[in-house]
Symmetry: C2
DNA sequence: AGAATAGTTTAAAATCATTCTAAATTAATT
DNA sequence: AATTAATTTAGAATGATTTTAAACTATTCT
C-alpha cells in the first residue's frame, strides 16, 4: 500500500460523518435528531477522539458561527453520555469532561492545564483489586496519573 | 500478649491526641497553632482514618458546639494538605475530599452517596504504565473504582 | 397536509461549593 | 505591654452547572 493510500485511509477514519449517518446514530440511541444534536454529533462522532467540556464545545460552536445555548450543550452532552455515545471522565476539578473514546482506558491529567491524555489500555494491567461487598457492583474503574511539567 | 493488652494498644492508636501533641504537629509543619487549627487537628490526627469535606467537618464542629467559619475550615484543610498532613482525593464530583490516610492507596467511590472507602494498596498492583513525556513528572497515581448498590 | 402532542431549546434565574475581601482578632516578637 | 505579622471571619463574589417556564420543533395522528 502506498503512503498516499494510507493517508487517504487515515483521512477516512477521521472524516466528518454525513448528517444522514449522525441522524442514524442519534435515532439508534433513542434521541431525536434535532439540529443542535446533529451539529454537536458532527463535532464529536467519527472524528479523532476528544476530551471536551461543555464550555470548550460552546466556544468551538460559536467560533464556527453557530449560536447555541450553553444549557443545550450541557443537555446534549449528558444525553449522549446516558445513551452510551460518550464517556464521562471524573478526574478534572471544577469541570465535567466527556470522552469520545468509548474503549476502556485510563488518563494522564496535566494538573496545570487540565488537559487529559489517553493511556493505551493494552499496556496497563491492574491486578489484586479486592472484591466488592455483597450487593455492590462496580460501575467503572479509572486510573488517573496526575502529571506536571518540571519547571527548570 | 493478652487480648486485653491488645485492645489497650488499639485504643491508644486511635486515642485523641493531646493538644500539646497536636500543637507540636502543627509547629513541625510550620503552622501556627491557632485555636481553630488545634481543634480541627484533634478531629483528624491520631484518629481512625477519615475522608472529610469542608462541609462535613463544619457540620461536625457545629454539632460539637464549636463556632467556626466555613472559610476557616477551607483554609485549614488546604494548609494541612500543603503541609503534607492530609491528602486530597480528586474523584468525588462537586466536592473536595481530604484523606487522613497518608499512605499510597486507592479508593472505592459509592456513586450514590459519595462515600469513599480505602482499598488496601498491598493487594493492588498496577503495571505497564507508559513513561511520561520528557519534562514531565508524575505527581500522583490514583485508582478509583466507582461502585453502586444493586437495586433489588 | 394540518392539527395535536410530546420532546427540545432557550435566556435568564437559581444553586452551590469554593474563593476572595477587607476588617477584626490573635499569636508571636520586641 | 506594644508592635508586627498571620489568622479568622462574615459576607460578597465567582463560576460551573442546573433549573425554570415559555417559545419552538420534531413526530404522530387524522
Amino acid at each position: 500500500m502506498s503512503t498516499q493510500n494510507l493517508e487517504i485511509m487515515m483521512n477516512q477514519v477521521d472524516a466528518k460523518l454525513s448528517d444522514v449517518h449522525i441522524i442514524q446514530i442519534l435515532k439508534d440511541a433513542g434521541l431525536r435528531p434535532t439540529r443542535q444534536r446533529i451539529f454537536i454529533g458532527g463535532l464529536l462522532f467519527g472524528q479523532e477522539h476528544r476530551h471536551v467540556s461543555a464550555d470548550i464545545l460552546h466556544i468551538q460552536i460559536s467560533t464556527l458561527g453557530q449560536k447555541m445555548a450553553l444549557a443545550t450543550i450541557y443537555n446534549c452532552l449528558h444525553q449522549f453520555h446516558k445513551a452510551g455515545l460518550l464517556k464521562q471522565v471524573n478526574a478534572v476539578k471544577d469541570v465535567i469532561m466527556f470522552d469520545t473514546n468509548l474503549d476502556y482506558h485510563h488518563h494522564f491529567l496535566n494538573v496545570d492545564t487540565g488537559e487529559l491524555t489517553d493511556i493505551d489500555e493494552s499496556t496497563v494491567s491492574i491486578g489484586g483489586v479486592p472484591s466488592l461487598p455483597d450487593g455492590f457492583e462496580a460501575e467503572s474503574m479509572e486510573l488517573i496519573i496526575r502529571v506536571k511539567q518540571l519547571n527548570n
